[in-house]
């Protein structure tokens, strides 16, 4: 009886992480989509520098549709200096690799900066990393449509 109880306990303990992983994946995907669709879009459109500051890792790198490399400070300055920005995301795909998540999708950015109109559409890839218990964006690439 004691052996049987030990065996069942070991099976239960062994299966728990698998169940947790299965259950965590949809929840994690929802969380990441919320970070993309709600937090990121709202922070950019509302010029919420505090949210951007905490969402972007200090080592964040961004490659824009013109192939220019920007740092966290460059990206935040672009958002801050824009007169207004409208940001749309679509067809999001989330792929989880341990503590790293890759999000790809379609984007459209409209806006005005120093009286100059901005309009850009294409596809993007974001790399999110779980750092100190918090998801932060470490890299972002935007490619224009051909």
């Amino acid at each position: 009886m004691w052996k049987w109880t030990c065996f069942m306990l070991m099976v239960f303990i062994g299966l728990r992480p698998l169940c947790a992983q299965d259950a965590a994946d949809p929840a994690l995907r929802s969380k990441i989509i919320a970070l993309e669709r709600v937090q990121k879009i709202q922070a950019v459109e509302a010029k919420d520098m505090k949210t951007l500051e905490s969402m972007l890792d200090d080592a964040f790198q961004y490659v824009g549709p013109d192939g220019r490399l920007q740092s966290k400070a460059d990206f935040m300055a672009f958002v801050h200096e824009a007169d207004w920005l409208q940001y749309r995301l679509d067809a999001l795909d989330v792929r989880v690799h341990q503590n790293t998540v890759i999000v790809t999708g379609l984007y459209q950015i409209k806006g005005v900066k120093r009286v100059k109109r901005l309009l850009n559409t294409g596809r993007f890839a974001d790399t999110w990393l779980l750092k100190d218990g918090k998801w932060v964006l470490i890299a972002s690439l935007f490619t224009p449509e051909p």
Binding site: D57, A59, Q61, V63, G64, P65, D66, G67, R68, L69, D93, R95, H97, Q98, N99, T100, I102, T104, T121, G122, R123, F124, A125, T127, L129, K131, I138, A139, S140, L141, F142, T143, P144, E145, P146
Partner: protein, 152 residues
């Protein structure tokens, strides 16, 4: 007061002595990992120029996403495209790249030049890329990659 200062000094010395080699070892490990990632980036370019799908299969994670000119390309699509292209029709030359390590994740940013050889003429394009590598059971694998044409 003196015994406390002495104790503090001893603790500080012990901490410094124990942390020093650890920090040095960590730096050496990071440098080693960055070198491995750079070597894999070169291996990718080489394998592509030789249409070596076997090597590319090992470098790419099965869930790889590749972005190029607004298009989303899967691992299967990428390998199929390499298989169909004659070897060294397109020549790729890597430019400078930086590797940033985040534990078992690495971000590589850099540029490359692509010389596309057509039947009558050749065209040179410059691209800037961001690649994401993750350390898995089989080693470092490429999970996401993308490039934007440098226009400015």
């Amino acid at each position: 007061m003196k015994p406390i200062d002495f104790t503090r000094t001893v603790i500080l010395l012990i901490l410094l002595c124990s942390l020093g080699p650890q920090l040095a070892a960590q730096e050496a490990a990071d440098a080693g990992t960055a070198a491995t990632i750079r070597a894999l980036e070169k291996e990718w370019t080489l394998a592509q120029s030789r249409n070596d799908n076997g090597a590319l299969d090992l470098i790419f994670d099965n869930a790889l996403v590749y972005l190029e000119y607004g298009k989303l390309v899967s691992k299967g699509d990428y390998l199929s495209r390499v298989r169909q292209n004659p070897p060294e029709l397109d020549q790729v030359a890597n430019g400078p790249m930086t590797v940033r390590l985040f534990g078992s994740t690495a971000i590589v940013e850099g540029t490359y030049m692509e010389k596309q050889l057509h039947s009558s003429h050749s065209q040179i394009k410059r691209w800037r890329f961001i690649d994401t590598w993750v350390y898995k059971k089989s080693g470092w694998v490429l999970v996401a990659a993308g490039a934007s044409p440098i226009t400015k």
